[in-house]
Amino acid sequence: MKPVRPITIAITAMGGQGGGVLAGWITQLAESQNYIAQSTSVPGVAQRTGATIYYVELFPKEAAKKAGRAPVLALMPLPGDVDIVIASEMMEAGRALMRGFVTKRTTLIASTHRIYAISEKEPLGDGRQDLEAVQKLAEDTAGRFIGFDMEAAAQSAQSFISSVLFGALAGSDALPFSRDQFTAVIRKSGKAVKANLSGFALGYAKGAGQKDSIEPEAGGTPASTTTPLTPAPAIAPLLAHLHEEFSPATHDMLRLGLERVVDFQDVAYGTLYLDRMSAIHALDKAYNGARKSWRLSKAVARYLALAMAYEDTIRIADLKTRSSRFDRFANEVGAKDGQIITITEFMHPRVEEICDILPVSLGRFMLQNKVANSALGFFFAKGRKIKTTSVGGFLLLYTLAAFKPIRRASLRFMQEQKRMDHWLDAITNAAPVNYALACEIAGMQRLIKGYGDTHARGLKNYQSIMAALDTIGTDRNANKRLQALKEAALQHEDGQALKIALEKY
């Protein structure tokens, strides 16, 4: 007969996620069922958002009685010696895998949602790590893998993730205790019993392999019910043009781009977009774009739309006064009936942003004339809080948005068109010699984003790289060099990495 061994359970969590609560529940559950239970942890400063491990061992009292001795229980998990690993987040499951806690004998219960680490959140671009690699390893390595978004389940039950994890553990049947014995522990605690039980139920269903009963969290803008099925008469010719002239592979992106620029300005602006794209598409065609799945056309379609629909004060005012937005906020803050919601926007337009939307000559004058500049600066030195749910605040932005028809005369419009022309020229010049380089130049638009200081920094990086295009050259590796520069620009906001990279050329 095989000797009785303790059941070993490792809980990997982040400080504040309730790992301690879960360990406590498991301990109480086991003790209530005639088991010797021992739990321990090393919280320390990890209690402040760091990764930490709680470790529990369970041993049947009966076996100890039979042996006439108390078992010697360990205070930390050993690689290859863990029966159950519970991870409150997918990368923490990855950490458990890395430490060797997950093997064929392990039941791995993990929430597949992500809580991004600071290293993933702070980059200027996209610093998120590949979740799929970890998930696949979890599936392949664990004897049994129970994974689903438990955070979403917890939220839908208005509970905490610990209750869902506890439910999934019960459902997994990895412990020799019944569902009722599990829930008795939650009931006995007397704290948030109802919410915890409903979180538990969701976890149990998934743990036991029942059908998905959790609705995915609603995200994004709810489609307006008033949107007609067919395009408006003013738009139809544009779409017809699009379908006639462009290769089908590019249609999706072009349509998105076109919709964006028309929404930004007007139909004529949409025509300008298509005209510009026409030239690029022809170029793409001439240099075998069809065999490169129209990479250049697609890239320019995306970035040209973003460049043409740039962010100025008029645009912000327009976006911030739309009806769809108000509904979304109510949804996002989880407002209930009977509550009133007020929205206050944090804005900080600088003198530059104000001059941007003035007519070219006036805008220039205000920027360059010291007296005018400082007079204006007096009014815009401080950030503003605008309550868009109040009549006054709303009207202020609504009026600003009404500047849209005269945007074409503005200083910023002129500057942006000039920059786009220069950018399109660079793409056009590069495509015949180095297709990949042309695509890379198109992607440079990704550096320009944000407002105020953020925008100024991005633009500066963009300009210094564009100015170096000649030195970068057009040979086979030119696109790689350009890509490296772009990555350097996205590396750190102080621009040191880019400066060093640029000095190399």
């Binding site: 001795r69 010697v72 995200g219």
Partner: protein, 716 residues
Amino acid sequence: MAERSFAREVQKLKAKKGETFHGEGILAVTKALLQSGVSYVGGYQGAPISHLMDVLSDAEPILNELGVHFETSASEAAAAAMLAASVNYPLRGAVTWKSTVGTNVASDALASVASSGVMGGTLVIVGEDYGEGSSIMQERSHPFAMKSQIWLLDPRPNLTAITQMVEKGFELSEASNTPVMLELRIRACHVSGSFIAKDNVRPAFTLADAMENPVRDYDRVVLPPSNFVHEVEKIEKRWPAAVSYIKKHKLNEFLGGHKGDVGIVVQGGLYNTLMRAMELAGLADCFGQTDIPIYCLNVTYPMIEDEVRGFCADKRAVLMIEEGQPEYIEQALNTILRQADLSTRVIGKKLLPRAGEYTGQVLREALSAFFADQAPGKIKSTAVDHPLPEKEQKTLMATVPPRPVGFCTGCPERPVFTAMKLVQRKLGDFHVSCDIGCHLFSILPPFNIGNTTMGYGLGWSGASAFNTPASKRTISIMGDGGFWHNGLTSGVGNAVFNKNDNVLVIIDNGYSAATGGQDLLSSRADNANRRTGQSIENAVRGLGVKWVRPVNTYDLGKMVKTLTDALTTSDKGPKIILAQSECMLNRQRREKPLRNKAIKDGKRIEITRFGVDADTCTGDHACIRLSGCPSLTIIDNPDPLREDPVTRVNNDCVGCGVCGEITHAAILCPSFYSAKVINNPTGFDRFRAAIAHAVIGFLQGRADNKRQKYSFGTTP
């Protein structure tokens, strides 16, 4: 009010003889103190013994009933000095702190009490913050015991062994007139388990008895010639007394078998880990039964020479399992064997790593190597494989991100460092001297601010050398905990006296936040058992600092301005900024239940939280780099044209408003909004909302209609 309440658990301390006590290690230690008839207890919080202080604090009514005095000492030094009560009187006392940092602070008083010797049993409970989860320099408490001649206990990590060792510790202390140190590792402090309780004992001789009938004995004072006498006494009287007590009461254990020519010597605290490693190697069962002889050192100082000789005499080799370095026990073992002319080989650091925690895996590998060498065939399978192949390991190493600790959601300390980051953008980088406390997280991403940290309350003294004319000043940081611990004198007093011209930022959040939110002198909240509400501003002004500026930390603009002023002013002399705001964790704990109740009762309550407008967020994450708030996270960009993820404020947001402040101070983007949810709105609220809704709705309808004219439709 501390972060974790033990109000319910402390009732267990009343357990009577024969009852089974279930609970955490630290709670068991408290119970053991009461069973030992302790008269006074003191200490200073810090992981892993923070909860011990919290338990004692929550248990004050129970302690008072038994006539036990409990003091939240100002520092570990203050706690150690408390032991002086046991020098002249038969009073049992215990103190506790985080080690080795706390022992460093306490060592002056510890050395004195060890020299004087004690009449009443004295126990120093040190929480050894070593290995995984530790936040301090990796050192041992062992040499403190050696240098001052304090006996060091390292019991097996189960509640029965720990509580027994507390009781025996007092007896040993009294038998040898020497203070005793009880070392508990992190996991042992937090381990749950059970033991059979005894009745609590009311001290026969009370503190009041001592105060009313003082006894003076010059022989016990550390002054010539007594100090010389003490040294001789230590060697000739106290040491032999201790050895005979330890032997007689079998504090060390001979476990396992009695045959064979190899054995294992292990520190008691590592016994459970060793047994699991042995079980997995097929050398033991899970009840700790093995035929390999084990000498378990529940007392790691002094070494009992007879026992060592007896254990080693018939052995070719022993494996010495001793965590940390230098390897004092191994050295002592070798000396004893050499002097006894025994040729037993002691194999310790030769096989085991010199640095780092002795985990199960480490011991498993050591066992495997030891037996392969000394007793081949003893372990059948010596392969200790990692369950994952190397390639997969590498993938994970590259994918799983490090998870450094950081400021909590809504933390009032965060804006201080955001402000510093913004100031540095304008004025260039500064030398920043840090202290101990949550504010130390500023050293980590996304702030990356900080040069050195020299110890609790030593933030300003850590920069005291830079007291010379230069074009830039230095910035030092100190928490309120560090300030009262010793920063007031060694930081502020030192700066005033030496005419320092630099800047100190004191983080005045009202609690000793990092150790679990304990109250301190300047806490704003009332505390029934302690006097709070003392002003840090008055304290530093009283020391002669003229330039003092209290700033609300959430007012980012003002913080930036004040920092800039302090760094650039032509005023000479020390400059102190008091960064004031309450720890958000504590505040939430206090306010949330009240708020929820008010809402339930139908009162008008506004709740604010923040959000990011995905329409206007372009995914640069400058806000995250300036804030680092855990509730600021990222999600896929809902705009199909954009690739970079956008920022999102998750449901943890407590509405502190710092992200909005950052938007203004750093001129970021117009994406942040605050949403105020009014619960139980009044008639006027509803009237105003209805008017706004009508006007806005009308205008929005008009705009919607206009946009319809340019609709692309829903079909592609």
